[in-house]
């Protein structure tokens, strides 16, 4: 359902703030906002509003608060959990706030608006010999604000940490319109780590207006390798061996045969051996002398663990090509079928071989093809299934497989999401890993920031988990 007559006052006020051009209410205009990077879900916003600067964003949030209207913040809409979908509520797009406010080379930090695209920040700091470490595969489109909402990761988070580890402070507007600072850009922060609590809150706690991020010096030397295996088990075991060896690779990525084949038959072909059962893309970085030693150790561990061949990129062009196949693998899967389920789960790294075997069994039993392409070094799996959603039987088998894969990961001691967030897609799984009292504690934390529960309603924690806690006798007495 789109905007109704009852919304006319709200629409007038929003149009006054951002101009009519940036308030969308017609179904034809809103259609592009009815899904995110995960095409399996469609939700139509009631209307969409796109503030053009900080002042407008503040006024929009305060106007929504005055009307008691629920809203869903959105960056570039590249999320993979349905988190940025607005189901008959207001969609608040922040992508026009894309000012790079400052870069401080000496103190290794930058201040950005939430709509700044991840890769644009990296391009801006690269000439200074710096980088912003979190590098989700959607880096060319996704925004820093969205990265904060999801606590985004990426291949290089194995060594450098996720978004949480790279945010120093934020100015945030709460759903009720109050503006607060989380973290301290000028030094240490005392009291509760509200900055940490806010990052990864999936748009349920408020909206960041500016963000002070930590920058990292580019490593002096990088060595990128591709190890190919004739056995998935061997590749999984070598992953565990490398991690246990004490080397912390900058990245350690895994791709299985279906993924390799689809990448190699696409425009993103990266020169992966098409007959391999699995490849590992491994990168080590640091100072030249040290990385050469690590490269040699990794190569020996791979060969001793059953790798057929270990190819070392000889220059930047070769390195970029090896990475292209990995970064564009999801896109390449578009060749296989019209739809794709992208899954995200984490398991202990010693359980990789066992869980990959289990995933294969589940795929076979349900007659689906699983393409595994993931951050093996973190144990962060991405089992993806290309399929045709218009075929109800196939859709049902895909859905069943995903549920079974999720349970297998949880049974192995894992988590239901490592970097994509819970959003809409995982909300049915969260009770697999958290007991009611833990979920209720999360509801309480949400209520601290948004007591009216107007920000991104219906996401992350199921409503039925948000019971009032049974008060203690003393609490009842007081």
């Amino acid at each position: 359902m789109t905007a109704t007559a009852g919304d006319s006052l709200l629409i007038d006020q929003l149009e006054d703030i951002v101009s009519p051009r940036f308030v969308m209410r017609r179904e034809s205009d809103l259609l592009v906002y009815n899904s995110d990077g995960l095409p399996g879900y469609r939700r139509m916003p009631r209307l969409a509003v796109f503030p053009g600067n900080r002042e407008e964003a503040i006024r929009v949030v305060r106007t929504l608060a005055e009307h008691g209207t629920a809203f869903v913040p959105r960056g570039a809409g590249t999320g993979l959990s349905g988190g940025a979908l607005a189901d008959d509520v207001v969609l608040l797009g922040m992508h026009r706030l894309k000012r790079l406010i400052s870069i401080d080379r000496e103190n290794l930090r930058a201040v950005v608006e939430p709509g700044v695209v991840n890769l644009h920040l990296n391009r801006a700091v690269a000439p200074l010999g710096l980088l912003y470490a979190p590098d989700p595969s959607s880096e060319a489109a996704c925004t820093i604000g969205g990265n904060i909402a999801e606590n985004a990761g990426g291949p290089h988070c194995l060594k450098y940490g996720v978004t949480l580890n790279h945010v120093i402070a934020m100015t945030v507007i709460l759903p009720d319109g109050e503006i607060i600072t989380l973290g301290n850009p000028e030094g240490e922060d005392a009291g509760y780590d509200l900055r940490g609590a806010f990052i990864g809150s999936e748009g349920c706690f408020g909206i960041a207006l500016d963000i002070t991020v930590k920058l990292t010096r580019k490593p002096a030397a990088v060595r990128t390798m591709l190890a190919d295996f004739t056995s998935v088990d061997d590749a999984a075991r070598v992953t565990s061996t490398i991690i246990a060896s004490g080397i912390v690779p900058a990245a350690l990525e895994f791709m299985d045969a279906p993924t390799i084949q689809v990448v190699e038959s696409s425009v993103y072909a990266a020169g992966y051996p098409a007959d391999a059962a699995a490849v590992l893309l491994i990168e080590v970085d640091g100072i030249a002398e040290g990385v050469d030693a690590d490269r040699d150790t990794v190569r020996e561990l791979c060969l001793a663990g059953g790798a057929r061949n270990v190819k070392v990129a000889q220059n930047d062009a070769e390195r970029a090509r090896l990475w292209q196949g990995r970064k564009k693998a999801f896109g390449a899967m578009g060749r296989m079928a019209p739809h794709l389920v992208v899954q995200d789960a984490v398991i202990p790294r010693t359980k990789l071989a066992e869980v990959l075997r289990r995933i294969r069994e589940i795929a076979d039993a349900n007659r689906v093809v699983v393409c595994n392409v993931f951050h093996a070094g973190d144990g962060n799996l991405h089992p993806n299934i290309p399929y045709n959603a218009d075929n109800p039987d196939e859709a049902e088998r895909v859905h069943r497989s995903m549920g079974e894969i999720m349970r297998a990961c949880v049974d192995a001691g894992g988590s239901i999401t490592g970097e994509h967030g819970v959003g809409l897609d995982k909300i049915g799984y969260i009770e697999l890993i958290f007991a009611p009292d833990s979920l209720d504690a999360m509801c309480r934390l949400r209520d601290v920031f948004d007591p009216d529960r107007r920000a991104n309603p219906g996401k992350v924690v199921p409503i039925h988990s948000c019971q009032e806690w049974r008060a203690t006798p003393a609490a009842r007495a007081s």
Binding site: D193, L194, A197, I287
Partner: protein, 383 residues
């Protein structure tokens, strides 16, 4: 009165009892740092000293799950046997507990390369002031499921819940380590240049710590202020880093236990000592150091050290320091952020009445401990 509880359910019963009678609890590990923070208005101590032991340790996963009363020394011994370590070096004896380290968010020089405590905790179990057992995070190294209770509880000083179990991220012990000491000039410009040159040398040192002349003398390195540089990694890395640092001039190798001596230096001091942390953006560290230096020069028995990469200076003053001197430290011209670790009880109210007085912190406290029975007062007044 002290109640020693072992087992999550027993601890929960203890909280339930306290909640029934609205009795405030002072939460304690091994009570080593019991005098840190603001005075707590509680006569009943809930001790977790007996709540110890490893719950799960799979070396291949580089994670360990322990009960919160386990000491840092025990964790060090268990992990070292597998060639691993928890790179956490808060100031104080190693027989402090991991629960206290996490609750207070304590960290030491290693934080500049391995992150602070909050970056190393993967999962947490705690008991709220309602007596609910709550878990956040998990046992895997990457996890964004649900809202982040791990970050919320780490550094909350026991005011939101009693930490009962934690899962931690471990690292492999480096095959080679080395510590260098460098002399540093006194002038602000020269000091900042020296710090920058050290931090920007190729490779990332495990730790870089600036220590003043008194501290330097006390731990037996030199009689002048020094930069200590801790290197770790494979042989090739450490050798290359060493060559780079040595090329700056005036570097010499010192014995690694120096770091342990630095860590426990306060334990040998008067228990009533005052500890104040000053922090700023990293490029102003020399300026703040120099101003603080001029205040401390007039206080006998004072010590000072800094973690330049984090922009943090730690000043340790004898318990009998005049309040006027503390005031001068708090009001430096460079205007650093000031955080107090230890103060005489009667001074807290004037210098730092609360760090949780804002609306959001008050609501957090009220959501997790509505009766206010967990460590009341330690972070200041709630409202």
């Amino acid at each position: 009165m002290t109640a020693v509880a072992e087992g999550t359910d027993t601890i929960r019963e203890l909280v339930d009892d306290a909640a029934r009678s609205a009795t405030p609890l002072r939460i304690a590990g091994r009570s080593h740092w019991i005098d840190a923070g603001r005075p707590v208005d509680a006569t009943r101590i809930a001790s977790l000293a007996a709540h110890t032991g490893v719950v799960d340790y799979v070396p291949g996963d580089l994670t360990i799950t322990v009960r919160s009363g386990t000491t840092l020394k025990e964790i060090e011994d268990i992990t070292r046997a597998e060639g691993q370590w928890l790179p956490v070096d808060p100031f104080g004896a190693k027989n402090g507990t991991i629960g206290a380290t996490i609750a207070t968010g304590s960290f030491g020089p290693l934080a500049s390369s391995f992150g602070r405590m909050r970056d190393l905790v993967l999962g947490i179990e705690f008991i709220t002031g309602h007596g609910k057992i709550v878990r956040g995070g998990g046992r895997v190294v990457k996890n964004v499921a649900g809202f982040d209770l791990v970050r919320l509880i780490t550094g909350s000083w026991g005011t939101l819940g009693i930490v009962t179990e934690v899962t931690l991220r471990l690292y492999s012990l480096p095959s080679n380590t080395l510590t260098l000491a460098l002399g540093v000039a006194d002038t602000v410009t020269a000091l900042q240049q020296r710090i920058n040159a050290t931090l920007q040398a190729p490779g990332i040192p495990f730790a870089v710590e600036l220590i003043d002349s008194s501290l330097s003398t006390k731990i037996g390195i030199a009689s002048k202020q020094q930069l200590l540089v801790r290197l770790g990694g494979n042989d090739a890395t450490v050798n290359a880093q060493r060559a780079a640092i040595e090329s700056l001039g005036g570097a010499r190798e010192i014995d690694p236990p120096t770091w342990d001596r630095l860590r426990v230096i306060e334990d040998s001091l008067d228990q009533s000592s005052i500890v104040v942390r000053l922090s700023c953006i990293p490029q102003r560290i020399a300026e703040v150091w120099s101003e603080a230096r001029s205040v401390l020069d007039e206080i006998n028995g004072s010590l000072m050290h800094a973690t330049p990469a984090l922009g943090i200076i730690r000043c340790i003053l004898p318990g009998n320091t005049q309040v006027e001197s503390v005031d001068r430290l708090v009001h430096l011209r460079a205007n650093p952020t000031v955080i107090f670790e230890r103060l005489p009880h009667d001074v807290w109210e004037r210098l730092s009445p609360s760090v949780i007085g804002d609306r959001i912190s008050q609501r957090v406290k009220n959501a997790f401990d509505p009766l206010g029975i967990l460590n009341p007062g330690i972070l200041g007044r709630v409202s």
